[in-house]
């Protein structure tokens, strides 16, 4: 009888979610496309004035990327609940928190990473100065996993309920605002040539905390949600 080690179980989990995402690779591209559409629509909606676009570029991109991420959030567990895979996961002899951590990682890889990769393109479309782009990317690299982790906990909490959409949005709002404020703060500072390290450090600290506690909270929330 071969009992799998933790590492093997983790890779199995990660591979599973990545394969699934790959099978539906069209859906991976969806947040990116939404983000692209939004940034394309802005020049239409506001008129193609370069200075105006440049002035709002950083903020628009941040908001767009974070919202595009949220789009993909509420399906994090729903398909697994519907087809009974989540039950099987809960019953597996592996620490649930770790497995969920892998799921969240896979989710981040498949939704946030493509967005981050596409960010320079978005930035170019809105004529954001090239010097600001690294700061924007750094801010996104820290803010997106934060959102993934917090979002996962909330999604897990609302998994058992039928009216998850509103709840989710309602609870995520207070979480988005600080992330956006810090990230936008860093980008704005960079755009004005001011030091931008402080808000980034805050984001990083929050991320460390979230990585440690997020999966645990997620597992607890999910057990509660399934017990109906």
């Amino acid at each position: 009888m071969i009992r799998p080690g933790l590492a093997r179980a983790c890779t199995a989990m990660l591979r599973r979610d990545l394969t699934l995402a790959w099978r539906r690779r069209g859906d991976i591209a969806m947040p990116v496309l939404y983000a692209l559409i939004v940034t394309m629509l802005f020049p239409f909606a506001l008129g193609p004035e370069d200075t105006l676009l440049q002035r709002i570029a950083g903020g628009v991109i941040l908001v767009t990327v974070l919202l595009s991420m949220l789009l993909a959030l509420d399906v994090l567990f729903s398909s697994d609940i519907e087809d009974g895979s989540l039950e099987q996961l809960v019953l597996a002899p592996q620490p649930l928190a770790l497995m969920l951590g892998m799921k969240i990682l896979a989710h981040w890889i498949t939704t946030a990473l493509p967005l981050i990769v596409a960010t320079p393109l978005l930035a170019a479309m809105l004529h954001l100065p090239a010097a600001v782009i690294p700061v924007l990317l750094l801010a996104l690299l820290l803010a997106t996993p934060l959102l993934s982790l917090f979002g996962a906990v909330l999604v897990a909490l609302t998994a058992g309920t039928r009216r998850s959409g509103m709840l989710l949005a309602l609870m995520l709002l207070p979480l988005c605002v600080p992330a956006v404020i810090f990230a936008a703060g860093a980008v704005a500072a960079a755009q004005q040539g001011l030091p931008w390290l402080a808000p980034i450090v805050w984001l990083a600290a929050a991320l460390v905390l979230a990585v440690a506690l997020g999966p645990l909270a997620c597992a607890a929330a999910l057990r509660i949600a399934l017990d109906a």
């Binding site: 069209g26 020049p43 239409f44 193609p48």
Partner: protein, 252 residues
């Protein structure tokens, strides 16, 4: 299938017949495309005089305009065969419609890129959201949508029918591309070439343009034949004639 379809057409639309027919015609089409292309581009790049306004930058016209025309022409072919595919469920029409899409997308892409490469020196910008440019971009998205929809289905014939439907819906965009310069006032220039009437450009520039245009038409035929042959192999994989080809060529 109605009986008013001429017999030869009926016969030709049988996959193995078309496969052979396309196979014989393909090299001739390709040769003609290469020959006419070489002549036309020599005439355009070397023989034709520079434009009195645009200098030598105008030489992009010899690929931009033929590609632009092809992008619309191919959409027309795709739309017609999509219609035939939907109404009469003829397999060959599905194949022609679906395999035209990538070629059309290629020409649309070329139009967009060469257009913006021309626009930078002429208008001072790569891109503006003017009616012709936007509608041409929409055309590209339509092509991509058709291709994507086709491949999104497991069953290829079902995918072909769905994509054919989209192609037919999208056909309204073709007149918009063409007439956008007259309906809205745009940065892009209006019609300068009128094959049957009086063209506004010099014959030295016109004949290479028309030759390259003809070359792209032959290229389209060749590429379509090549793609259709491949597609038929995949589609008819249950049939004996394909199995024979597979066994014959699989060993190599």
């Amino acid at each position: 299938m109605s009986n008013w379809i001429p017999l030869w057409l009926h016969k030709l639309s049988s996959p193995p017949t078309f496969y052979r027919f396309a196979g014989t015609l393909l090299p001739w089409m390709m040769a003609l495309a290469l020959l006419l292309g070489a002549i036309g581009l020599y005439g355009g790049l070397v023989l034709a005089p520079p434009d009195y306004q645009q200098g030598d930058a105008y030489r992009i016209i010899f690929i931009h305009v033929p590609s632009a025309w092809m992008s619309m022409f191919i959409y027309g072919v795709m739309g017609v065969s999509a219609f035939i595919a939907l109404v009469w469920r003829i397999k060959l029409a599905e194949v022609v419609a679906m395999e035209s899409a990538p070629i059309g997308a290629a020409f649309t892409f070329i139009t967009l890129v060469t257009g913006s490469l021309w626009g930078k020196p002429m208008w001072g910008t790569w891109w503006t959201w003017d009616a012709r440019l936007t509608s041409e971009l929409v055309l590209l998205f339509l092509y991509l949508g058709v291709i994507g929809l086709y491949h999104a289905f497991e069953d290829r014939r079902q995918g072909a029918r769905a994509a054919a439907f989209l192609a037919i819906i999208g056909i309204i965009n073709v007149p918009i591309v063409h007439y956008s310069v007259t309906w809205w006032n745009t940065l892009h220039q209006g019609s300068t070439v009128d094959i049957f009437g009086h063209s506004k450009i010099a014959w030295d520039m016109l004949w290479p343009l028309l030759t390259v245009t003809l070359a792209t038409k032959f290229y389209y035929a060749a590429s379509l034949f090549r793609r259709a042959r491949t597609d038929l192999l995949a589609l008819e994989s249950g049939k004996e004639w394909v199995r024979q080809i597979a066994q014959r060529e699989g060993k190599r």
